[in-house]
């Protein structure tokens, strides 16, 4: 049980951070698009 809980916590942390990086990448892409439009 210990291993399962610890694994779930670590996987959650990794997925939250990965989501943040995915959104950040899309944000910079969107901002660079709006720069080229203006």
């Amino acid at each position: 049980m210990n291993v399962i809980v610890i694994t779930l916590v670590v996987v959650s942390v990794v997925l939250v951070v990965a989501s943040a990086l995915w959104v950040l990448k899309a944000l910079f892409k969107e901002l660079s698009k709006s720069r080229s439009r203006s």
């Binding site: 916590v9 996987v11 939250v16 989501s19 990086l21 944000l27 969107e30």
Partner: protein
């Protein structure tokens, strides 16, 4: 900083000011690059061109407010992983909305708000009623967010409450007024990235370097806390919590606006499904942080103070400044979405049905409405009783008043205007009765233990059915 040598204090103050300045500069840069809205369509729906990662990030940033961050750390501290089960219901709600409702919303033509959707299904009176309920809900939730922001800023800078409220409301209003939904979504994405990177990193740091024992102690605390939480929960509390998490926040105006503003029906659906999935992992991290705090923070600490106390006890002043950045991001990303959704609803659902407006006039009214709603919410923030109580009151009003009419309206082929109107008025009235009358009237105080959302939702459903049976189908408009 009391008790530190003068040199250390100076370094801490300089680093703290630098962290806050860098965050402020980056937020300003992002908000400026989002550009001002030039048409009402940009202000209300960001030109209906938002891609999947931004819809997902903005949805997650909007629902992760003080309740799902500071509040959930406190819940983990007191009841372990008990709230993970309840949180799964919230994830399920988002996934169901994404799968069943969001694509239907996005496929409707000429809809800027939920009021527009209800207006298309049930005609003008219901349109305006839904608009008024949306504006009141957004203003009330914004008041709760501003209060939460004020509490954080006051706690860290020791400022008077009113000035903390002015700072939080003022900065958010500034970029939302000019940039509209696009600025709101783009700054949400930046704020989401900020708190979703920093908070898990702070958690891991404390766990690895300050936690007492990596596995054994943590698991022991988790089991003990979850058992304690389960023992204190009655079945009626559980039913109320599950209903509130399942329906209370469903399709509130900012979420509906994001469903309508997606680039396609597919993005609308996937955005909600991904945001629902993300919530499970987010709750896991927040609850784990609360469990970790059990070995470090005093047991009698107030639930809402657990996160701040944990960071204060284990990390340096500079990390406390980082936590401020995280919390301000969490609060502002929810607040800007509520201000924009309320303003768009006021212009589109309350003013437009009575006055013919040009695009430019609609845009100006939307901007003025943003400032007015922020001002009203800032005043309201000074009298909001408590953050969690305020949120529960808002959700208890929203779900019964709007959801039956909205969901049936989207699924029934020819919805009856009487059904929509009856359901909205009955749901609202019963919720108001249970929230504000029952605790004050001695004759009915025995009903005070029942969560308001349950009887109000039941009454709204019955009223909808009665209206559907008694009402006549809408007349086809000749144009």
């Amino acid at each position: 900083v009391r008790g530190y040598p003068v040199g250390t204090v100076i370094v801490q103050v300089v680093v703290t000011v630098m962290i806050l300045s860098v965050y402020g500069a980056m937020l300003t840069w992002v908000a400026l690059r989002a550009r001002a809205a030039r048409r009402f369509e940009d202000f209300s729906l960001a030109g209906r061109a938002l891609p999947l990662p931004l819809i997902f990030g903005s949805l997650a940033a909007t629902y992760v407010g003080p309740g799902f961050s500071v509040g959930f750390v406190g819940k983990g501290f007191n009841s372990g992983y008990l709230f993970l089960g309840i949180g799964l219901v919230y994830a399920l709600q988002n996934i169901l909305v994404g799968w069943l409702v969001a694509p239907r919303l996005r496929s409707l033509k000429d809809c800027h708000t939920l009021g527009d959707v209800i207006g298309q299904k049930y005609k003008k009176t219901s349109h305006v009623t839904a608009g008024i309920i949306s504006v009141i809900l957004c203003s009330s939730l914004a008041a709760v967010m501003i209060k939460a922001g004020g509490v954080v800023v006051t706690d860290i800078f020791d400022l008077p409450n009113w000035s903390a409220v002015v700072i939080v409301a003022g900065v958010t209003t500034l970029y939302t007024t000019f940039g509209g939904l696009r600025a709101s979504v783009i700054t949400d994405a930046f704020q989401f990235a900020t708190f979703a990177l920093l908070l898990p990193v702070l958690f891991l740091w404390i766990w690895i370097f300050r936690g007492s024992g990596m596995e054994g102690a943590f698991i022991q605390q988790a089991v003990h806390a979850t058992q304690e939480g389960y023992r204190d929960l009655t079945w009626i509390d559980l039913l109320g919590l599950v209903t509130a998490f399942l329906l209370g926040e469903t399709l509130i105006p900012p979420y509906a606006n994001r469903a309508l503003a997606s680039r396609s029906t597919q993005i609308s659906r996937n955005g909600f499904i991904l945001a629902g999935g993300f919530s499970v992992f987010w709750f896991m991290v927040m609850l784990s942080m609360g469990i970790l705090a059990r070995g470090i923070v005093q047991p009698q600490t107030n639930e809402d103070a657990v996160l701040l106390t944990l960071v204060r006890r284990t990390l340096s002043i500079e990390c406390y400044a980082l936590l401020l950045v995280v919390l301000v991001s969490i609060i502002m990303s929810s607040l800007d979405s509520l201000l924009n959704a309320g303003a768009v609803s006021l212009a589109e659902d309350v003013v437009k049905p009575f006055v013919s407006l040009s695009d430019h006039q609609s845009l100006q009214i939307g901007r003025c409405a943003t400032v007015c709603i922020a001002g009203t919410a800032a005043l309201g923030a000074l009298i909001v009783p408590g953050i969690i109580d305020g949120l529960i009151q808002c959700y208890s009003l929203w779900a019964p008043a709007i959801l039956p009419a909205l969901i049936f309206g989207l699924w029934i082929r020819k919805p009856r205007p009487l059904a929509g109107m009856l359901s909205m008025i009955t749901g609202l009235m019963v919720a108001i009765f249970f929230l504000f009358m029952v605790p004050r009237v001695a004759a009915v105080q025995s009903l005070a233990k029942i969560p308001a959302i349950l009887p109000a939702l039941g009454a709204a459903l019955v009223a909808y059915m009665a209206g559907h049976i008694l009402g006549s189908p809408p007349q086809e408009e000749s144009s």
